[in-house]
């Protein structure tokens, strides 16, 4: 059947009135990442290399919620997560709570390939990144003005937001925060 790839840059409630200055850079990055991945597959590179290559490109785009441009936790910091998995072998690697690693997906791959483990988090993952010599940045590198404003709005509304949540008024926020039943926090 031949090669194929698909990618995403997040999902949510994106209004059709999204201004061009917010829409176009994201579409351009999706196109660039798709072309990059397709070219790599056309050249015969393995799927594992391709998914890492594409996700790195998306992480480097400040308009998406990963790498530079990651949204902010309640304390104003970034805590990035990433994972990679290879189908034929079921090998996988994952990282959580990163605040300095430029491309978390590549660190996840190193967890998969160079440790006996599947998942490293927070201080341990940061220490592993330093040990492996991957590119790191000052935590401020990942924080954008746009995301500072989004955190301010979310705090004002007292809620957490998925990638493309639209602003809500106070009444709607209260309704959204109220558990619908006793199972609302199951898990």
């Amino acid at each position: 059947m031949g090669w194929a790839l698909a990618l995403h840059g997040g999902a949510g409630d994106v209004p059709r009135t999204l201004p061009p200055e917010l829409r176009e850079p994201r579409l351009a990055t999706l196109r660039r990442s798709l072309d990059l991945g397709a070219a790599a597959l056309r050249e015969g590179r393995p799927a594992l290399d391709v998914v890492e290559l594409v996700v790195r490109e998306l992480e480097d785009c400040p308009h998406f919620n990963a790498g530079r441009g990651s949204v902010l936790a309640a304390d104003g910091t970034v805590e990035m997560d990433a994972a990679v998995m290879e189908g034929a072998t079921l090998r996988c690697g994952a990282v959580s709570g990163l605040s300095t690693v430029a491309n978390p997906v590549s660190l996840a791959r190193l967890v998969m390939e160079r440790t006996p483990h599947v998942y490293l988090a927070f201080a341990g993952a940061e220490a592993f990144a330093r040990d492996q010599g991957v590119e790191t940045k000052d935590p401020s590198h990942f924080i954008t003005e746009h995301n500072i404003e989004r955190l301010r709005q979310a705090k004002e509304a007292n809620r957490v937001q998925v990638d493309y949540t639209q602003p809500m008024n106070g009444q709607a926020t209260q309704q959204a925060q109220t558990p619908a039943d006793d199972n609302s926090q199951t898990g």
Binding site: A4, L5, A6, V55, V71, A94, R150
Partner: protein, 129 residues
């Protein structure tokens, strides 16, 4: 959240996902992305990367569920993905997936998902809504 799934010309599958999580999340919160089988999964039959409300994706082990429906019930990838997405609360899940045979699927129950796909056969798509 960003992610990519691919099958190469030799039929090898892989998935990768990366995210900053949720705005205003509690420090220390871990979402679906790094949890194997929740937001990211690949086996010899398909590869899946998910995005949306992480806690919902974790509860449903969404990515592995898609793969399990393909593996154990023999569903086509598209049907398996549609079933998992439809079973989640409206507005909570989007995913991209590819099969070993080169089938591509982009399913969601959100109003939009930034997404793109391409195949060796020449299909090429970039879209939001």
């Amino acid at each position: 959240t960003v992610g990519c799934v691919a099958v190469d010309a030799a039929g090898n599958l892989a998935a990768a996902t990366s995210t900053g999580g949720l705005v205003n999340k509690m420090p220390g919160r871990i979402g679906d992305t790094p949890l194997v089988g929740a937001g990211t999964y690949a086996n010899a039959l398909c590869a899946v990367s998910a995005t949306g409300v992480g806690e919902e994706i974790i509860r449903r082990t969404a990515a592995r569920d898609v793969a399990a429906l393909v593996e154990h019930r023999g569903l086509p990838l598209r049907d398996a993905a549609a079933r998992v997405v439809a079973g989640a609360p409206r507005g909570s899940v989007g995913l991209v997936a590819v099969s070993r045979g080169g089938e591509v699927c982009m399913a969601r129950n959100t109003t939009a998902m930034f997404r793109a796909c391409a195949t060796e056969a020449g299909h090429d798509e970039v879209c939001i809504w």
